[in-house]
């Protein structure tokens, strides 16, 4: 037979790798999958914000004259930073929903990982890092396209991608936790998209200032992570960002991420270790 069978009994060759290496190895597994299937998900991860930029910033934006409503800059420059935040949040939430539920339920590859030395917490970390990498790729493409289109007016634009990625990952983490507790067939994620992500995209300051909203609904925008991200990127790209508000917005996003990670690790553990 094969070489395996001729050898006398030996100790197993497997070993426990360090936590970060375990995360990395799982990301590598995801990459193996992605290399084979990247075309199918390119639209979701890479191009969606670019399409929004083309439609809203360049197409619709050509009809909008610069004025007080746009902080005095062309509409393209006004929405270029925020469209990235909103786009990455949408992609992050999408990737954190059905695909994660599938890992437990249909694709079931999480169970295979659970039988290896990689722990449930490391698996969660890897899935989140993987989403972050996809968002980074999308942000890089967007940065270039928006530059070519003339959407950036200052070097502050370089701060936009990291902030947008943070916002996307911060929203993805709690959604992953939610997905890990979901038992049904995933219709709930369509509802999340319809009733949370969509309204947030439209009304949290991406396309027009929140101050234009009727006063009673404005708090809804203020509690959305997207608004905090938008305030940060617009301030960074157009100037006028002040320290204290900036730290406040950043703190909200970081807090969301930290809570999401804690909940996600616990949810993965509860679902996989039964």
């Amino acid at each position: 037979m094969t070489a395996t069978l001729d050898r006398p009994t030996a100790a197993a060759t497997g070993s426990v790798v360090g936590a970060w290496r375990a995360v990395w190895l799982r990301v590598e597994g995801r990459w193996t999958w992605y290399r084979r299937h990247w075309t199918a998900s390119l639209l979701a991860s890479g191009l969606q914000p670019v399409l929004f930029l083309a439609a809203m910033g360049i197409g619709f934006g050509s009809q909008v004259r610069p004025g007080p409503l746009t902080d005095g800059v062309p509409y393209l420059a006004y929405v270029a930073p925020t469209i990235l935040v909103s786009g990455l949040i949408t992609v992050g939430v999408t990737e954190a929903g059905l695909p994660v539920l599938s890992g437990f339920k249909w694709k079931q590859d999480y169970w295979a990982v659970a039988s290896s030395p990689v722990s449930s917490g490391q698996l969660f970390g890897a899935e989140l890092v993987w989403i972050a990498l996809r968002l980074t790729f999308g942000a890089a493409v967007y940065l270039v396209v928006a530059a070519v289109a003339g959407g950036w007016t200052s070097a502050g634009a370089l701060l936009v991608p990291p902030i947008a990625i943070l916002a996307g990952v911060a929203c993805a983490a709690p959604v992953m936790a939610f997905a890990a507790t979901t038992k049904g067939d995933g219709h709930v994620f369509a509802a999340v998209n319809r009733f949370v992500v969509m309204p947030m995209t439209l009304f949290a300051g991406t396309f027009f200032p929140v101050e234009r909203l009727p006063l009673p609904v404005r708090p809804l925008a203020w509690i959305s992570p997207l608004w905090h991200g938008n305030e940060l990127v617009r301030g960074a790209a157009l100037g006028g960002l002040r320290w204290w508000p900036a730290l406040g917005h950043l703190a909200v996003l970081v807090a969301l991420l930290v809570v999401g990670i804690a909940l996600g690790r616990r949810a993965f553990q509860r679902r996989l270790v039964v």
């Binding site: 037979m1 295979a112 270790v273």
Partner: protein, 310 residues
């Protein structure tokens, strides 16, 4: 290392799901290098036990040691040294055969070079070399099962846990797999197998426990169990369903024990042919008769009052 050392031992092992007790305090020991079986009907608690031993499911009570370690504290270290074949395949259907092996191998800390070589070797083992770079999705059920088993060998495990390895395989594929498992055993790999096929248990297991309702109801080698719980031979008298009851009283004293099944009577006796003749002399007229050796099926029937496979 002593060959009779217990590589796995459970004492009063319990698994609870909410307030349901799936495993209700079982004691067992598996020695290094042996093939150990859990035999039992659906819902007996076999998979629950396997999942505890493979350190994927924490125990709810009792003691468990695997490779001398406590799964609660050393789960990853134990998993690094064992191989797990779950009851249901969980291959990545969107990857190729080769990628499935390589990606999984990496989780065990093997280098890229190591997993490349290992994948080639294991595809040979699973006779899937010609499908190496094809997607897993369209493979037949038997091929997927073989790949799952091959994947579990990626870390050269000291213990291989197989939860119903041959369910869904055709007879030829089953025999092929038994042969492979036998080779692994000769190499010194400890095998733990669950099954509800008696022939499988008899073929593969040095020792086995019979589980029913979350408990172990008997333990021993297949031959021991048959000697202890059944007679040498069994006479099967087949009747049209329902008619068998009328014959029970006529044959009761011809055997040590008579089992009444929906369509037949089983007479446990040392001499089946003699019993056949005497039953005929008493005017018992079954549709057909069959004398056979006792098997684990009979042991199971004796222990639980139920047949194992319908």
């Amino acid at each position: 290392m002593r060959s009779d050392e217990a590589i796995i031992s459970g004492t009063g092992l319990v698994k609870r799901f909410a307030d349901f007790e799936a495993v209700r305090g079982i004691d067992f020991q598996v020695r290094r290098g042996e093939a150990f079986g859990f035999l039992g009907p659906n819902g007996a608690g076999k998979s629950s036990t396997m999942r505890m031993v493979s350190c994927m499911s924490p125990r709810s009570g009792g003691e468990l040691r695997v490779l001398g370690m406590d799964p609660d504290r050393k789960g990853p270290a134990i998993r690094a040294r064992i191989g797990v074949v779950p009851q249901q395949d969980n291959l990545d259907l969107e990857l190729t055969v080769r990628q499935n092996l390589q990606v999984y191998g990496r989780y065990f800390g093997l280098t890229r070079k190591e997993v490349r070589a290992k994948a080639v070797e294991l595809m040979e083992f699973a006779r899937l070399t010609d499908r190496a770079d094809h997607d897993v999705q369209p493979l037949s059920g038997g091929m997927k099962r073989r790949l799952t088993i091959a994947r579990a060998l990626v870390n050269d495990p000291e213990v291989l846990l197989l939860d119903e390895p041959t369910t869904g395989l055709d007879p030829q594929a089953r025999h092929l797999l038994w042969e492979k498992l036998f080779q692994l055993k000769q190499r010194g790999v400890t095998l733990i197998i669950t099954t509800h096929y008696m022939d499988e248990a008899e073929q593969l297991c040095d020792r086995l426990v019979v589980m029913d309702g979350g408990k172990i109801v008997a333990e021993g080698s297949p031959a021991e169990l048959i000697t202890r719980y059944a007679t040498r031979e069994v006479l099967e008298l087949r009747f049209p369903p329902g008619d068998q009851h009328a014959a029970v009283d006529k044959v009761r004293d011809l055997a040590e024990r008579v089992e009444v099944l929906p369509d037949r009577l089983l007479l446990y006796t040392e001499d089946g042919d003699a019993a056949t003749t005497r039953a005929h002399d008493r005017g018992v007229r079954p549709i057909s008769t069959l004398v056979r050796r006792s098997s684990l099926e009979d042991v199971f029937l004796r222990l639980t009052g139920r047949t194992l496979v319908d």
